[in-house]
Amino acid sequence: MTDERLLDLYRLMRRIRAFEDAAEIASQGGVAAWGLAASSKPALVRGPLHLSTGQEAVAAGVCISLQKEDLLTSTHRGHGHTLAKGANSSRMMCELFGRATGYNKGKGGSMHIADFSVGMLGANGVVAAGIPIATGAAHALKIRRQPHIVACFFGDGAANRGPFLEGLNWAQVYRLPVLFVCEDNRISATTPTDTMTAGEGVSARARALAIPSLKVDGNDVEAVDQAAARLIAEVRGGGGPRFLHAVTYRFKGHVSVDPGTYRNPEEVAAAKLAGPLRLAAGKLIARGVSQAVIERIDSEAQAEIEHALQVAEAAPWPEASAAYEDILNTGAGIWQ
C-alpha cells in the first residue's frame, strides 16, 4: 500500500474520531438513561448517541474502495460509515443537534444519520434491519443494470436475528452485488456476543450459504482495506455477494452515557493500545512519515469538527409545522 493511501485512511479515521469525541462532549447532560441522572446542563446532542470509537478502521477501510454511486446501509452506530461515504461533517453535526439544516431536517438524529446524496441510505434504530434493505437495493441495481454495488454494515449481534439469514440467503440466490460487512466489536450492547452466538460464528454462517468470506483484523486499516478492496472487486465483477468479518473493539459503552463498567478495564486498556489510530500512526512513522505530518492531520480534523460544532450551534431549529411534512402526499389534504 502506498503511503498516500494510508495517510488518506488515517485522515478519515481521525475525522471520524474527532467527530464522535465532539459529539460525545456535546451529549453530556443528555438523556437520563442507564441509571444516570440527567445533569442540569442541557445537552446539545440529545438522546442515544452510539459511538464507534475504536472501530474507525472498518468504516474507513471498506468505504475507501466505494464509489460515490455505490450505496450503503448502516447500523445504529453510523457516524463513521456516513463520514467515510463522503458526507459533510457540519450537516451531520446539525442533524445530531436536531437542527433544520441537518441531513434529516432534525427528524432523525444520530441513530438515523443519512446522506442519500452520497448513497448512504441511513443508520437504523433496528438491529439487522439494514440487511434486507441492502439486498433490495442491490437487487434494484442488478435489475436496472447499474454497475454499482451496495455495502451493508451490521454488528456481530445482528447475526442472531432472522433478517440476517433471510438477507444473506436472498443475496446469494440472486447473486446480488452486495458486500456484507460484519463489524464485530465482540459485544452486543452490553453482552459479550460469544456467549450468545452458537456455532463457529458469523462467517461460518456466510460460508454455509456458499458466500465467500474473509476474516480480518478490523483494527488494522490496511488489512481491512486490502480485504475489502479484493472482495469489492469481486462483487463489482459480478461474482455475487461477499462477506467481510472484521474483528474490532468498541472503546466506549453502548451509548455515550453508558460508562461501560461491565467491561474488564484491562481488556479495554489493551484494546486502546492496539487501536486503529495508534496502529496506523505507528505504521506511518515506521515508513518515514514525520510526526509533524501526522500532527497536522490531527489538527486539521480537529479544526473541521470545531467548525462543524459552531455551524450546528448557530443553526436554526425546525419549525413545528415541519412535523407534518414528509409523511404522505396522499394524506396531505385530508389529514388534520
Binding site: 450505496l71 441511513g122 433490495g136 437487487h139 396522499t330 385530508i334
Partner: protein, 322 residues
Amino acid sequence: MSEKMTYAQAACLALQEAMRADPRVVALGEDLGRGGVFGQYRGLPQEFGPERIIDTPISEANIMGAAVGMALAGLRPVVEMRVIDFALCAMDEIVNQAAKNRYMFGGQGRVPLVARMPIGIWSASAAQHSQSLEAWFTHMPGLVVVTPATPQDNYGLLKASLASGDPVIYMEHKELWGLEGEVTAGKEVPLGQARRLAQGHDLTIVTWSRGVGVTLQALALPALAGIRADVIDLRTLWPWDKDAVYQSVAKTGRLLVVHEAVQASGFGAEIAASAAQETGCRVRRLGAPRIPVGYAQVLENEARLTPEKIAGAVHALLAQLH
C-alpha cells in the same frame, strides 16, 4: 370500453398495464412465478420474465425489506405477502422501515411501494389465515391503506397506488378474488375518495371490502324493508374520506360502521368517534367479536359478517335514543 372480469383479473390487468408503461415496476413474493397463489399475477411471469416478476424465498422480512431497498434504489416494487397474516413476519420492515423512511430521513428517501396483503376470512383456514388487520396499518403514520371492494376498484385503486409515491398497504379480500364485474380499463379511482352505493335518509352505513357486498345484501332483507340508508364504501382507509362521511351523517344523523375485522379497537371506532365528535351523530359499530377465527363452520360463523347481523345492528341503531 369495459369488460367483464374477476377481482383478481382486474388487479392483474392493472399491474400488467403499469409494468408495460414503466420498467421500474417489478413484483416480488413467494410463488409469483406460478402466477400467484390466487392467480392474481397470472400471465405476468410469461410476459415480464423472472427479473420483473420475482419468485422469492419464504422470507417475508426480506421481501418487505428488499422492497424498501429497491424503492430507495429507484424501482417501484409490488410486494406480495400472500395473506396479511404473514405480513406480521415483516412488521419491522413495514412499520419501522417503509413507513418511517421518508419522515425520519427528512425527505431524502421516498419509498414508493405497494404491499399486497389479502385480508378476510378464508373459509376453513382458521385463525392464522383469516385475519383483517387493517386497523394496525391505519394507526401508522406514513402508510396509505387501501381496501378495494369491486373489480373496477381493484383495477383503479391498484393503478392509483402504484402512482402514489408512498408505501401503500393494499388489502384485497380473499373471498372477493372470484367476484365478477365490469372493468373499464383506464378508469382511474383516486385514493382517499369514497363511493356512495345507495341513498337514504334513515341512517348512514360506512363499510369497505367484503363489508360492501354484505351490507347491500342486508338492505335487501325483508327485515330492513322500508329502511333507506346512505351506504358508503370508503375504498381507502387512510386517508379516509371524512367529507363524504360527515356530509352523509349530517343528513341522516345516524352512523353505523360495518367491518369484518374484530370490533374492539377496530378502524370503525376511529370513524365513529370522529363522526360523533364532528357532527354529534348517533353511532354504532358492527365488527367481529374479539375471538380468533375458528376452523369448524360453527366457530367460523361466529366471526363472520352476515346480512342478518347488519340488519340487527341497523335496528339497534334506529332504536337508540342517543
